[in-house]
């Protein structure tokens, strides 16, 4: 019978690969996020694309699309467990920390994939300047980590509630507000041509936000999960 020696990493990877496999078969969260992102992008580009928007407005539009795309699908990672009734089996088998890390990795992979589709389309449709693209990608990665860290713990909290969708956005907004301000500021400055030194404060803020969110979530998740 099974040899019990696996640590936290392999348990977390087991949760991640299970979620990935379930998502690849249903494509529920991926389709929801992608359709939201593409639809919003299309509307923005056809109505505002030719009007020569400022870099700050372009950055704000980009992160509004990313925020609502995240709202459309990231909560599924816990809601699906509740709705299919698999949450009890998972609770009785898995270490809560492994569950959180596995779900966070899954949400990050999902948003990374969605960003890889939405970001180039956004630059093409809005004709945003691409001189500083590597720095923009760095801000994007830090933003997606922060976005996923915050929404994963909120998704765990709201998964037992009756009106999950509305509650997810309402609870996420105040937590993500600071992150979104930092992201819009950093992205706008990158589009304006700032160097890495020029957005040092914003980058520190983004790293600190993601770090604090992940550590706080790791500490809180056990209580949320076992309630």
């Amino acid at each position: 019978m099974p040899n019990k020696s696996a640590g936290l990493t392999s348990r977390a990877l087991a949760v991640f690969s299970k979620d990935l496999r379930v998502e690849l078969r249903s494509k529920y969260a991926f389709n929801a996020i992608l359709m939201f992102g593409i639809t919003t992008l299309a509307v923005v580009s056809f109505t505002l694309g030719q009007t020569g928007l400022s870099e700050r407005l372009l950055a704000a539009l980009f992160w509004i699309i990313m925020f609502f795309a995240a709202m459309a699908g990231l909560a599924q990672v816990f809601i699906r467990e509740e709705e299919t009734g698999t949450v009890l089996a998972l609770k009785l088998s898995a270490d809560p920390t492994a569950v959180y890390i596995g779900k966070l990795l899954f949400n990050f992979s999902l948003m990374a994939l969605i960003s890889a589709v939405i970001t180039p389309v956004f630059f093409i449709f809005t004709d945003a300047p691409v001189d500083n693209i590597l720095l923009f990608v760095l801000v994007l990665i830090l933003g997606v980590v922060g976005l996923c860290a915050a929404t994963t713990i909120v998704a765990a909290i709201i998964s037992k509630a009756g009106i999950k969708g509305a509650l997810f956005a309402v609870l996420s907004f105040p937590i993500l507000f600071v992150l979104l301000l930092l992201l819009v500021n950093a992205s706008a400055r990158v589009l304006e041509g700032a160097t890495i030194g020029g957005i040092g404060t914003e980058l520190q803020g983004l790293i600190a936000y993601a770090g604090v969110m992940i550590v706080a979530s790791l500490m809180l998740f056990k209580f949320v999960w076992q309630e």
């Binding site: 099974p2 696996a6 299970k18 379930v22 009890l88 088998s93 898995a94």
Partner: protein, 207 residues
Amino acid sequence: MTMYSLSAVNLAKRFGTRKVFNDISFELETGRSLAVVGPNGSGKTTLLLTLLGGYLPSKGEIVFSENAQVLSPDTIRDKTALVAPYLNLYDSLTAEENLVFFTAVSGGRVTGKELNSLFERVGLAGRADDPVGSYSSGMKQRLKYAAAILKSPEFLFLDEPTANLDDDGKKIVFDIIEEFKRKSIVVIATNEKEERDFAEQICRVDQ
């Protein structure tokens, strides 16, 4: 030999003002089994889930121990298994993927040979690669037993152990209970006489 024990002292559970059960006490050690009996809605499932940590007791104490040393929640989770009609597996995964996942997430590893013999034992040979969503309720119940056996639990909790099973399935389950009641602690919530008869101790929940 490692001896495990499970004790409940003056256990009570309320949901708001509604009393579910009150003053439940028992003590079990490896090789002993307990039948939890009582009418429908009396709180048998709630008692099982309270013992498993799914609910906090309103009063009383639950202690899992190994050679008189109290076990941590993480160790308890790795040494317990539940089979119940309300315990759902992943419908979009195959039976084999479900077993591999639940073994991996419990910190274990399983070989293809072990899986094959397990599918043979629970009567699901040849169906390992089918999605669980295509299984009948009886087949799902058999698969839950396979998942429980894979964990080699020291504490096995069974809620309505033969629910949804045909005669062949019941025989498989009775063999499994016979095996585990010798080497583990088995707690069975049931109203069926033939299932109750497996246990040496009875806990009545009807208050």
